[in-house]
């Protein structure tokens, strides 16, 4: 058990790092503004540099913060629901379903570009329903959900790549339209959409955090405590699907974030969801913004997509986490 003082210290430290990273990210690029200039430009008088920063950098930073928080919390929720540490929305196909639906709509009906996120949510939900109905046998066995999810994800990724080739006129350069997440060219309307859906879903996740703890017990035991396990799983999964779908609609597929951040959170603040889920908000925001900012800087003036960077760093890091003792709780 972590002592409360340690947990508070870790929270405060992470929050400070996040604020620091935010101001660092604001100032990376060809335009530089100092902190007083920024405040004056935002709140007092018009400043062309601040206005450019506001229009170009603020949206992608805010999207990284909210999108990262959404993916991390969704990952933690899926891990609670499936009682399985390798449960990640990008592994069981939810992210791909959402991103594919979004890419399809944009490709076939370009005039629907601005409503594509809604289709992504539908895509995430449909994938969720497919995975769940295919794995439901009078209950949801964690391992079956994972296996079905991996198969569904493979089909969706294949579809995405095939459609990507067709849409780019046969040139196999696209490699899957835009399934790999990137935060370039994001606008304030993307931010609004993300915040509109992610905020209430995050609050709901917070309300359910004590219930998530119950899922650490065996299903029979939870039921004998008067809680319908299947209903509980479905409610928590729906919150998680909403978070992932909106995030994937706006950012594309970001792999491993939903795995890595909850794992780090468990190591840092323990596995009590009432403490761990709020930490995932901070941690997810931090890691996503770090990936996006690093991607902007590593090969400046070129950009490495945040999704690619997450996969490159997240994969090995995840293997390290898996090889630690006690990573698998329960089984």
């Amino acid at each position: 058990m972590k002592r409360p003082i340690v947990i508070v210290a870790i929270y405060v430290l992470t929050a400070l790092l996040l604020v620091g990273l935010f101001f660092f990210a604001v100032n990376q690029g060809s335009i530089k503004v100092t902190f007083p200039e920024l405040l004056r430009g935002l709140f007092v008088e018009y400043d062309p540099n601040v206005a450019a920063v506001y229009d170009l950098r603020f949206p992608r930073i805010l999207i990284a913060l909210f999108g990262g928080a959404a993916l991390a919390v969704a990952g933690a929720l899926f891990q609670a629901v499936l009682r399985n540490p390798v449960a990640d929305p990008s592994i069981i196909g939810i992210s791909s379903g959402a991103a594919l639906a979004s890419a399809l709509v944009v490709g076939l009906f370009p005039m629907l570009y601005f409503s594509s996120p809604f289709f992504a949510i539908a895509g995430g939900l449909i994938t969720f329903i497919i995975v769940y109905t295919l794995s439901f046998r009078g209950g949801l066995a964690p391992m079956r959900v994972i296996l079905v999810g991996i198969a569904v994800n493979a089909v969706l990724v294949g579809l995405g790549e095939g459609i990507g080739v067709l849409m780019s006129g046969g040139a196999a350069t696209g490699g899957g339209v835009s399934l790999t997440g990137s935060l370039a060219m994001k606008t304030w309307s993307d931010v609004r959409l993300l915040v509109l859906y992610v905020t209430p879903a995050l609050l709901l996740a917070g309300f359910m955090s004590a219930r998530c703890n119950l899922l650490k017990l065996d299903d029979d035991t939870v039921r004998s405590l008067g809680v319908n396990v299947t209903t509980l799983r479905i409610i928590i999964s729906l919150i998680a699907v909403t978070l992932v779908s909106v995030a994937s609609a706006v950012m594309g597929v970001i792999a491993f974030l939903g795995l890595i951040v909850p794992h780090l959170a468990r190591i840092l603040v323990g596995s009590d969801n009432r403490v761990m889920l709020p930490y995932c908000v901070l941690g997810g925001a931090f890691v996503m913004l770090l990936a996006d900012t690093a991607g902007r800087l590593i090969a400046f003036p070129y950009e490495i997509h945040a999704g690619i960077l997450m996969a490159l760093i997240g994969g090995p890091l995840f293997i390290i986490l898996l090889s630690r003792k006690n990573t698998f709780y329960g089984s």
Binding site: M1, F207, S224, V227, G270, F328, Y329
Partner: protein, 255 residues
């Protein structure tokens, strides 16, 4: 406590039992016994509402039809200690026992003084004071079993069901657990219903036995009445001998 009438149950086309009726007495320890596949677990699950009985069956719990209990209501009447329990990663004994208060709380309520008291009582009764702040998964199988019983005890129900509580434990812990169950009954007045595989333990511990016959019927009686060779051989389909050591009836299986 329970009145069961006209209960039949079958999986697909294979009937488990047909048209059985029995009562479970309040304040007593009752064991469900029978050979593997005779339907002990099925009956256990029917009585704890983990399986649904068919429409013409009637299972009354404290005079009220079991099917009308909501799960949350039932959890205040019936605590269940399951045979298979996975010790969660990084949860202490006290935190685990605290889950026993879930049926008594609204969704977002935190633990009240009354909850803390119930948790403390369960810890003390199961003699887990020294282990209370240790991780459950670090405990031995026998100690863990006491923790799961304490979890059920914290629910503060009048009835406790236990599914093979001594299986996989060494004989020392089997005795510790059986004594704990007897104390639950004698000191706290809990009605106890349990599945036990060991016939001698059943005879020693229980006030009443419910024996499921391979032919789908059921025999209900006191240990004294049921401890005869012919009957036990029929129930378990094995060559069993009944003898006595002092006043203690003993069943043995010659090889």
């Amino acid at each position: 406590m329970y009145q069961v009438r006209n209960l039949s149950f079958s999986y697909a086309d294979s009937p488990v039992f047909e048209d059985i009726s029995f009562d479970i007495a309040e304040g007593k320890i009752t064991a469900l016994m029978g050979a593997n596949g005779a339907g002990k677990s099925t009956l256990f699950r029917l009585l704890t509402k983990n399986l649904r009985a068919d429409a013409k069956a009637q299972i009354l719990l404290q005079g009220r039809d079991l099917s009308t209990y909501r799960l949350s209501e039932l959890a205040k009447k019936v605590a269940v200690v399951w045979q298979h329990n996975t010790a969660p990663y990084d949860i202490t004994v006290r935190q685990l026992i605290a889950f026993g208060r879930v049926p008594h709380k609204q969704h977002f309520q935190t633990l009240s003084a009354k909850d803390e008291e119930a948790i403390e009582e369960a810890i003390n009764f199961c003699e887990l004071q020294d282990e209370a702040n240790r991780l459950v998964r670090e405990l031995s199988g026998g100690q863990q079993q006491r923790v799961w019983i304490a979890l059920g005890l914290a629910q503060q129900t009048p009835i406790m069901f236990l599914d093979e509580p001594t299986t996989h434990l060494d004989v020392r812990y089997q005795v510790i657990i059986l004594r704990l169950i007897r104390r639950l009954n004698q000191e706290l007045g809990l009605t106890v219903v349990l599945i036990l595989h060991d016939i001698n333990q059943s005879l020693e511990l229980c006030d009443e036995l419910i024996a499921l016959h391979p032919n789908g019927t059921l025999v209900h009686g006191s240990p004294h009445a049921l401890a005869n060779e012919e009957f036990l051989q029929e129930i378990f389909e094995a060559d069993l001998r009944v003898g006595t050591i002092g006043e203690q009836v003993l069943v043995r299986a010659p090889l």
